[in-house]
Subunit: 277 residues, 2 copies
Amino acid sequence: MAAQSTIWVNGKRDSSLALPDRGLNYGDGLFETLLLNAGHIFYLEHHLERLQRGMQVLGLSHNLDDLTLQLRDAARAVQHIPWGALRLTLTRGAGPRGYRPPEQGTCQAIIESSELQRDGDSPANPVALGIAELRLGNQPVLAGLKHLNRLEQVLAAAQVASAGYEEGIVLDGDDNIVSVVSGNIFALQGNHIETPALLRCGVAGTRRAILISRWARAIGLEVIEKTMNLRDLERADEVFYTNALVGVRSVAAIADKKYPRCTVAQRLFEAYRADRS
Amino acid sequence: MAAQSTIWVNGKRDSSLALPDRGLNYGDGLFETLLLNAGHIFYLEHHLERLQRGMQVLGLSHNLDDLTLQLRDAARAVQHIPWGALRLTLTRGAGPRGYRPPEQGTCQAIIESSELQRDGDSPANPVALGIAELRLGNQPVLAGLKHLNRLEQVLAAAQVASAGYEEGIVLDGDDNIVSVVSGNIFALQGNHIETPALLRCGVAGTRRAILISRWARAIGLEVIEKTMNLRDLERADEVFYTNALVGVRSVAAIADKKYPRCTVAQRLFEAYRADRS
C-alpha cells in the first residue's frame, strides 16, 4: 500500500483542482519532484531555477517567493516523514476554450507529498535496465524542461515494466540515447564520464547538472555531454543514472549486458551525500 | 466575456477534479471536442471511434456506453444553447507517484460545455493564416490521436496570435505541413484535393475523415493524403481547413499569399451541412 499523500492547492490543504484548468486540458504547465528529509528540501534553488526556465518558455508568470513559501510550509507539515517527495505542479490555470493561452492567466500551484520507503542516506540497489520500444520525439523548444506533457514517459514506463524491468533506457528517433524514463544516464569510459547532450528532447535533471558541475569534479572526473548510442553503453566500464529521489544509482545490467563494476557510482553517491549536507 | 460553462465530472455536476489525477500530472488521457446544436451532438460515433483508438494506444479502459450517456445528458442539460461545444476529457485517474501507469486505474470523465457565438449553419468567414515558428515533433505512436499533451499547440497558438493571426499553419521538423493549430488543412490542386498524411504527428480530425470519405465525394472530388510543404500550398487554387466547430472553413490568405477563390470550400460546407442533418 502506498502511504497517504497530502495535497495543497495554492498553499491551502485541498484535495481537488478547480476546473477548467489548462494543466489538465493541454498539459499547459510544469512540475518538479523534490526530495525531502524530515522537513528539509534538498537543492530547492536548482528546482526553482529549472522551473523558472520553463516558465519563461511557456510564458507563465507566478511569484517564486510565494512558491518557495508554499513548498517550505508543505515540507514542514510532513516533517514526521523521514524520507519523502514533494511534487510541485504549476499550471496556467483557467482560460476560455481553445489552445491559445489567455493574456492574463492565474497560475495554479499544486503540491503533493508522498513518503519514500527507502533511506535516502544509502545508495539504491544497482538496477537492471530494459530498453523502451517507444522513441522520444524531438522538440528542441521544450527539450530539457520538466513540463506536463509526459505521455511518452508514461508509455515508455509501461513498456519497460511489462518487460519485467523497474527502469529502462529511452532512445530518440535516431536511436540515440536520451536518458532513462525517470532520470539521466551516465557512462564511465576509461577516465571520463559521458552523458547525452539533451538538445532535442529529454529532461535536464537537477542532479545531472550538479553531478556535472560538482560531484564528478569532487572525485576528479570530467563529464562530456555528447551524442550517445547503445554501442557507447556497451563499451562503458560503468553505467549509472541520476534523479532527485535516488541521487546516483548504479546500473547492474542493460538487457543482457552486465556491468559488474560500481566503484565510480558509489564514489559519486558519497560526493552527493557530502555535497547536500 | 466568454459565456459561463457547465462542468460534469463522471456524470455529476461539479466544478473540480479529485487529486491526484494522471491527466493533470502527465497529460495521461484523451479529449474530444463535440459540436452541439440545441441539445444535439454531431458525429458522436466518429468522436467515440477516435477516442477508442486512443484508449487502445494508452491502455485506458472505460465503458463507452456510459460515456455516451454522460455526453447525451450534458447535451440535453444545455439544449437552450443554440450552438455550443462539449469538451470530453478522459484521464487515467489517480495513481501512485511515478510515470508507470497503475494496473487497475479508474478513468475520470470530465465534460465541459461552452457556448459558441456563431451560427453553425453558416460557413465561418474566410480566414488569414499565419505560420507558427514552432515545429511539431514526430511521434508516430501518438500521431493522429487527440491526447492531452498539447503544449506544442499551445505555444504555436500563442505565436500565431502574437503575429496578429487568428489561426496558423504548423509544420514538422522537416518543414512539411501538418495542419493548422486547431484543425486539418486541405489544398485544391486542379481537380483533386490534397491533405497531409499525418503519419508522424498531428491530430486526425473527425471532420478530416468525413470530408475525405463523404463530402469531397459528394461534390465529385478525390482527396489524396501525401507529404506536403509550403510550396504545395503556394500553387494551390484554394485552401481550407476543417474542425469539429467550423466544419469547413475557407482560407483567404497564408501570410502574404492571397487565395481569392473559395468555391470548393463553399460546396464542401454545403455537403457537410447536408450530410450532418
